[in-house]
Symmetry: C2
Subunit: 140 residues, 2 copies
């Protein structure tokens, strides 16, 4: 199978958060994550055009502390749950450690600083993409 061609991701920004360590971060945003600021590289200011408070966005991050060699894990670290393929979990440890987070924009704090609601990524996590969230509850 020709899946060998690599692609290069250049981060477009970074997460600023009170969460400093992975051990501080909840597994999912709805488990009590704080708000955060998406500091976008000014080179991409035009790509934020029309983003405004109230928008629901999908944030893709690069989970830079992840172990890319892990293929199976106990979900949420609970060893009473059987070992599961990482493709059926939300573990940060996976071959391409891209995080998917749904957030609500609460304020624009500058032309490239976007404050968002609960986000479980730690301070310094690279951001690789933003998208508008779809309205259908079944859509990502």
């Amino acid at each position: 199978m020709d899946t060998s061609e690599p692609y290069v991701v250049h981060p477009i920004g970074v997460v600023r958060s009170a969460l400093r360590e992975p051990s501080d971060a909840p597994n999912q945003a709805y488990e009590g994550a704080p708000d955060a600021v998406l500091e976008i590289d000014p080179a991409f200011e035009d790509a934020l055009h029309l983003v405004q408070a109230g928008d629901e966005l999908i944030v893709l991050t690069w989970l830079h502390l992840a172990d890319r060699d892990v293929l199976q894990t106990h979900p949420t670290g609970d060893t009473s749950i059987p070992l599961t393929g990482v493709f059926r979990t939300r573990s940060p440890d996976r071959p391409n450690p891209i995080g998917v987070h749904r957030v609500t924009v609460t304020a624009l704090e500058g032309p490239t600083s976007v404050r968002v609601g609960a986000l479980e990524a730690i301070d310094g996590t690279p951001i690789v993409d933003l998208k508008v969230a779809l309205r259908s509850p079944q859509a990502p």
Copy 2:
């Protein structure tokens, strides 16, 4: 801002679909996309452990035909909609062209062949990650 460190994505599989050209593909899966097969590299068979029919997964793809230099677009190609930053759209054209798709597994057709419901990615699109979808309708 230190967003300059690049990261390398190695695809973990490829989409097999009756959709052959971008012009054939709907903008979103719920607009009439056909089912598809996720052909995962056998090197990652262990990472599929416990994936089964009925699972809802998030599929991340690399939109290999995208234009990475585009920062603004008319959503859905409709020029009556004002130019919008790509970070507030679902356009495939964006700095890091990663697609996010929510699908339901309909069958396992082999140890590393996963048939899924409606998927708007064209045949040959590289797959870079799979995750279990969260149950909350507000979660990605």
